[in-house]
Symmetry: C2
Subunit: 110 residues, 2 copies
DNA sequence: GTGATTGTCAAGCGAATACTTAACTATTCA
DNA sequence: TGAATAGTTAAGTATTCGCTTGACAATCAC
């Protein structure tokens, strides 16, 4: 099993590529097949399959094959991992700024 | 000037690298110099400088040189761009799921 | 069955990436 | 002044990455 911590890299590495971000954006509008995904991106179906493997491993996408068509959908897990990392980062940063603000507004105490 | 739209790639590309994420995490705890940043990462100062250039361009980090030491701090701009992208993505996805839920719960209408 | 569609897999290629080393500049301090 | 400190820059290298091509498998439609 892959811990959430270990998967942070998978998620951000996935989102670091513009083609994969475009795939996720498309998927946010609804499920779609591999070849329909490939067409507007103007890359081969093989390339899309490779991106899907990366996205699926990182929990951003889920796919299911019925007959000869594989349907791809967004998956919440990966997105959550990224959101959590950014929230943790921001809160660490902001609480530090708050403490700094307190110090500056009460300079008379030692 | 760099539009927020164009900068999305800069931000996610920056965060796609584990060393740069570690730098941002460190910076969330407070400002720090280049060499102090390099030490725990066990890479050369030169490598850190290269990462800082990437991070600064994407608006995740701000640096300022005083005397011979360059102090690095977190910057809100880049983080905001990433948060915005993820919020847009999630809301597109969730409103779609909501509409789908409405359809399923009211199947008697045509 | 035949032929068309949809996807899979492996190999290979060129470009980008993350580093290092080494030479250099600028600043501080004794 | 001279030595130590902090960072910068350029060049080189090994690895990873995103993609293509081409051969193949499975499914569908006639």
């Amino acid at each position: 099993m892959l811990s959430q911590q270990e998967n942070i890299h998978g998620v951000f590495h996935s989102l670091g590529d513009p083609t994969r971000r475009a795939i996720v954006e498309q998927l946010s509008k609804g499920p779609i097949s591999v070849s329909r995904l490939a067409f507007p991106l103007e890359i081969t179906v093989a390339a899309v399959v490779q991106h899907l493997q990366v996205l699926e491993k990182s929990g951003l996408v889920r796919t299911e094959k019925v007959g000869r068509v594989r349907t791809c959908r967004m998956e919440s897990g990966g997105l959550l991992v990224a959101e959590q990392w950014m929230n943790d980062l921001r809160s660490a940063w902001e609480t530090r700024l708050d403490r700094l603000g307190d110090l500056l507004s009460e300079p008379e105490e030692k």
